[in-house]
């Protein structure tokens, strides 16, 4: 996957741009999109607790990668939605969704030795789409380009005098 910084930057950029259209998306909610962008990589828990270890312990097949699919992301988003007040649930759910989907799409373009990406639509489909193979998760290129874009977006917002990203009180 592109490194987590790239995912966080994509979330930041998308959320700040969405905030142009939906003015309730302030700094608090930009953070929600960025958190959503981390969701699929919860599967990285496999680095400290390998799938094979869990599988042996429970006596059944087990693969953390399920968390890095549409199904896994949906359940994780529902967990996030459970933890907030009912009146902001649809906002939080939608924004976590934006973040998580942006992560899955960015990862689907990773260079892969088979030329195919991962089953991002699972469990709806086991299909692994062909990947355009744009970058490796270890390439510094994406984070550099995205940092520049994020800075531009941030500067643009500040120069238009918008309250997004600042701590000024807002009337709702």
């Amino acid at each position: 996957m592109p490194d987590l910084l790239s995912h966080a930057l994509i979330g930041y950029i998308l959320a700040t741009l969405l905030g142009v259209r939906y003015d309730w998306i302030d700094s608090t909610y930009v953070t929600v999109v960025m958190a959503g962008a981390f969701i699929p990589d919860i599967m990285k828990i496999a680095i400290v607790l390998p799938s094979a270890t869990v599988s042996d312990a429970i006596g059944m097949p087990f693969e953390w990668f399920a968390l890095h699919t549409l199904g896994g992301a949906t359940l994780s988003i529902l967990i996030g939605v459970t933890l907030v007040a009912p009146r902001i649930r649809s906002r939080v759910g939608a924004l976590l969704g934006v973040g998580a989907v942006s992560h899955l799409v960015a990862d689907a373009m990773l260079l892969n030795v088979t030329g195919r990406s991962f089953p991002l639509f699972w469990p709806l489909s086991p299909w692994r789409p062909p990947s355009p193979g744009l970058y490796l998760s270890t390439d510094p290129g994406p984070a550099f380009v995205l940092s520049v874009i994020a800075l531009l977006v941030w500067a643009l917002k500040r120069s238009t005098g918008d309250t997004i990203g600042t701590s000024e009180p807002r009337t709702r």
Binding site: A8, P61, A66, L83, V84, N112, V113, T114, L136, T138
Partner: protein, 161 residues
């Protein structure tokens, strides 16, 4: 309505169990090349005899350059010999190979990928940085009500239950 601590705990229990089941279900995936699901490390490690002659994907650490061999990261840590590789590699590099399993422990390479070690360190470093960035934003922008197990935006008063 899911507004109390107990109801939230129940919901979380259900959702986390569902996630666990999802991980078990995903673990049952069997190779299906027509869907782009090629036999990988676990298959080659446990039952290589099923896939001789098939296209497979293996990745591991280079343990020898003569013959070129990689050690897979599965519990059995088998060593696989790679033939026909069109790139130079050194011991300890991470190597991914897509090719044909010509014998139980031999893959004839079709395509391959390596990652320089310093790039892996770079990735871990910036990912940790990103984690800190988002965590800081979360801690500043949201507060936790432990009594109701609820997150609220820090700049908004909490609703009365």
């Amino acid at each position: 309505m899911l507004t109390t601590r107990n109801r939230r705990l129940i919901a979380l229990g259900v959702l986390i169990s569902a996630l666990g089941l999802l991980c078990v279900w995903y673990g049952v995936f069997t190779p299906a090349p027509q869907a782009g699901i090629y036999p990988g490390n676990p298959d080659i490690s446990d039952t290589p005899e099923r896939y001789i002659g098939d296209r497979v994907v293996v990745h591991g650490t280079v343990v020898s350059t003569s013959p070129l061999s990689i050690r897979l990261d599965t519990p059995a840590t088998p060593v696989i010999v790679i033939t026909d590789l069109d790139r130079r590699v050194t011991v300890n590099q991470e190597l991914s190979v897509f090719g044909v399993l010509t014998a139980e422990r031999t893959v004839r390479a079709n395509r391959s990928l390596t990652v320089p070690k310093q790039n892996v360190w770079y990735m871990y470093f910036v990912s940790a940085l990103a984690g800190l960035w988002v965590l800081t934003r979360l801690l500043r922008g949201w507060t936790i009500d432990w009594q109701r197990l609820e997150l609220t935006p820090a700049d908004q008063p909490q609703e009365e239950a």
